[in-house]
């Protein structure tokens, strides 16, 4: 079961986790908007249609590679404040190794393979976040 959502709505982790409980092991990752460096607001832009398709391909690839019973990706877009959830990734498998690895794979690859762009407002000035070199390396370790 693959479930992909891209939405301006707040991410409800409890419901997402409950829907994943189809086998013995469930792993999840939640990313929250960081408030360090004085970031006041974060805005997420995406490529409607292409973003959802990229996330679905990613979830399908993880499901096949680790024989998952379920994989969920929820990504928020639009404006959000520090502490709010920006992304949720969840996996379910019969055994913990598969669930945990697939979860790490999904969040690593999502950062490089799905069209999202972050704009931060710091001290009243907006700036587009630059891609991090480490993200490419983290994604590449799964190849």
């Amino acid at each position: 079961m693959i479930r992909v959502t891209v939405s301006t709505a707040a991410i409800e982790v409890a419901a997402e986790l409950a829907a994943l409980e189809r086998d013995g092991a469930v792993a999840s990752f939640t990313g929250l908007v960081r408030g360090d460096d004085g970031v006041a607001t974060l805005e997420l832009e995406h490529y409607p249609g292409a973003t959802e398709a990229a996330l679905e391909r990613l979830a399908a690839a993880a499901s096949a590679r680790w024989s998952l019973s379920a994989a969920t990706i929820v990504h928020r877009v639009g404006a959000m404040a520090p502490g709010e959830r920006i992304v949720f990734v969840g996996t379910c498998a019969p055994h913990r190794g598969a669930a945990l690895e697939a979860c790490a794979y999904l969040i690593d690859r999502l950062k490089t393979d799905a069209p999202f762009w972050k704009r931060e407002t710091v001290n009243g000035a907006a700036r587009w976040v630059e891609a991090r070199h480490g993200d490419g390396e983290a994604a590449a370790r799964w190849e």
Binding site: H46, Y47, A50, W117, K118
Partner: protein, 83 residues
Amino acid sequence: MRLLYFAWVRERVGIGEEEVTPPSSVTTVAELVAWLAAASERHATAFGEPARLRAAVDQAFVPMDASIAGAREVAIFPPVTGG
């Protein structure tokens, strides 16, 4: 051909999408970007540094030397920063 722009590319061009008909000499994404950079001053600020750009042809990520032959939709944007 429909062009889509995202993030600071969109902001610099000033619009999120436009219809264009490049000349037949423009066959790759890189050539399209060079051709766009000459279209207006705003386009020049958006497309003047091709090394900072990424692209998708018909919603699939492609390298900059990919062909645009037959493409209906080409998106041009900075490296992605989701998650």
